[in-house]
Amino acid sequence: MGDAPLLEIKGLGKRFPGRLGREPSPWVIQDLSFSVRAGEFLTIIGPSGAGKSTLLNMIAQIDTVSAGEIVFNGETVKSHDARTLRPGFDRRIGYVTQDDNLLPWRTTVENVLFPIEVQGRLNDATRAHADTLIRAVGLAGFERYYPHELSGGMRKRAALIRTLAYDPPVILMDEPFAAVDAQTRTQLQADLLKLWDIGRKTIIFVTHDIAEAIALGDRALVLSRQPTRIAAEHAIPIPRPRNVQDMLAVDGFAVIYQRIRAAIQ
């Protein structure tokens, strides 16, 4: 693997095209650069409305960039024109969105297997892998339940392992745990760290919760308000495996928290 970045964001900018007879919007994101190493867990903290989702949408190639470029594994992505966008970059970039987007007509296991099914990779090994993930996040026994029969936390877990199950090298996460209660969130964070320890994927995790960013990440980027730029960068030298429940008691947590808090002001 080495230290060569897997994903490089260079001078990225975004403004939305103007409607008939109007100027394009002001820059939402401007001159934003960072890179991610393979196997790194990067967290990005930003206030609401800081263009966090827009940033991830551009990396996932479901939205165009207005300036700058995205380089994936040495390959420059053609992302200035909507017609050349390749959502998910040929299954190399997974995306866990804020909404779970489970298909209501599919059961839990059918939802988890959906990407594998459309990729034509459904076999005993992939089924067994999905089964392992279902058990790892405590959804065993709910395989044949429909989304409307699951709790919010269970739906989040199903959406999370749906992306993990097809094993994309990079996974983007857009505040995936924002809509659940604090207790469930801690459990989901613990589940995520456990799964990440098994697979060591490259993860870009966006959140507005400083504690969450520290608990999960190897490194945290802090975004400024619009136009969004990188305001600060913090390494998080807390050893792994980490216990999410006891994060507050960990040496150095308070110091990092204070520094990030100050950077956001």
């Binding site: 479901i62 998910g88 040929d90 997974g94 987007n101 959906f114 459309v118 409307h148």
Partner: protein, 258 residues
């Protein structure tokens, strides 16, 4: 318990309707407005001698073929046009016009064009069913959550996968609703076409009954048509339960269990 309660309440409503019918028949005169008992007897007799079965079957055949001829393209078209919003917009006023035009008024034309056989009835039924199912399917395709499509594309789904696994299942409730609305119109359309010119079908029975001042036979044929619509509705309900078992339990208002 509640299920039985609903059943008995419905029975009471039925008895009230029959009683009102009986009173009406008494006041107007059984010659013009036969009593429910007389209609029931005639109905049983005509079922027994096969007359209502034969003519009812003929009407069902027309309605069924017409529903397929009109309904299948009406379901396919919105899927084919899903990625062509401009074409949908161009077609829209013509579709609305076709939906709004009184198709029953076309019945004499269809008979001129297609003859007095089954073809003219199929044409009328198909023209009625097509627009109803088209607009329902279109609304289903349009009501699709674009985030689900995006999720599928991110996961590597191509156009065909999206159509098969996302758009179709999301549209099925709307398609079924379209057919549910269309069924009474299909039976009604077939009967109207038979009334105008035919030698078979329930419409023919109504026509000959009326010509012979045999109002009891007219009512018996109408009763048969009503029962056919109810049976078709029951079939659609069963299909819906089987196809849409993934949905959260339906509206409490429609659920007699509540």
């Amino acid at each position: 318990m509640n299920r039985w309660r609903t059943f008995f309440d419905r029975l009471i409503v039925l008895i009230v309707i029959l009683a009102a019918w009986q009173v009406g028949s008494f006041l107007v005169g059984a010659y013009f407005f036969p009593s429910p008992g007389a209609v029931a007897l005639r109905f049983v007799a005509q079922v027994w001698n096969g007359e209502l079965i034969r003519h009812g079957g003929y009407t069902i055949e027309e309605a069924l073929i017409g529903t397929l001829v009109g309904g299948v393209p009406a379901v396919l078209l919105p899927f084919l046009l899903r990625r062509q919003p401009l074409l949908v917009a161009i077609l829209d006023p013509f579709m609305v016009g076709g939906y709004g035009a009184p198709k029953l008024a076309f019945a004499p034309l269809f008979i001129l064009w297609f003859g007095i056989g089954i073809e003219s009835k199929i044409a009328l039924v198909a023209s009625v069913v097509f627009f109803i199912v088209y607009f329902n399917t279109l609304s289903g395709v349009r009501a699709l959550d674009p985030k689900l499509v995006q999720m599928a594309q991110l996961a590597g789904a191509g156009e065909r996968h999206v159509a098969r696994h996302i758009v179709l299942p999301a549209a099925v409730p709307h398609i079924l609703a379209g057919f549910r609305i269309a069924v009474p119109y299909a039976i009604g359309g077939a009967i109207i076409a038979e009334l105008i010119s035919s030698n078979r079908g329930l419409g023919y029975l109504v026509q000959t009954g009326a010509m012979n001042f045999d109002t009891t036979s007219v009512f018996a044929a109408i009763l048969m048509a009503t029962l056919i619509v109810l049976a078709a509705n029951w079939l659609l309900n069963t299909a819906e339960r089987m196809l849409l078992h993934w949905r959260p339990p339906a509206d409490a208002m429609l659920d007699p269990g509540n």
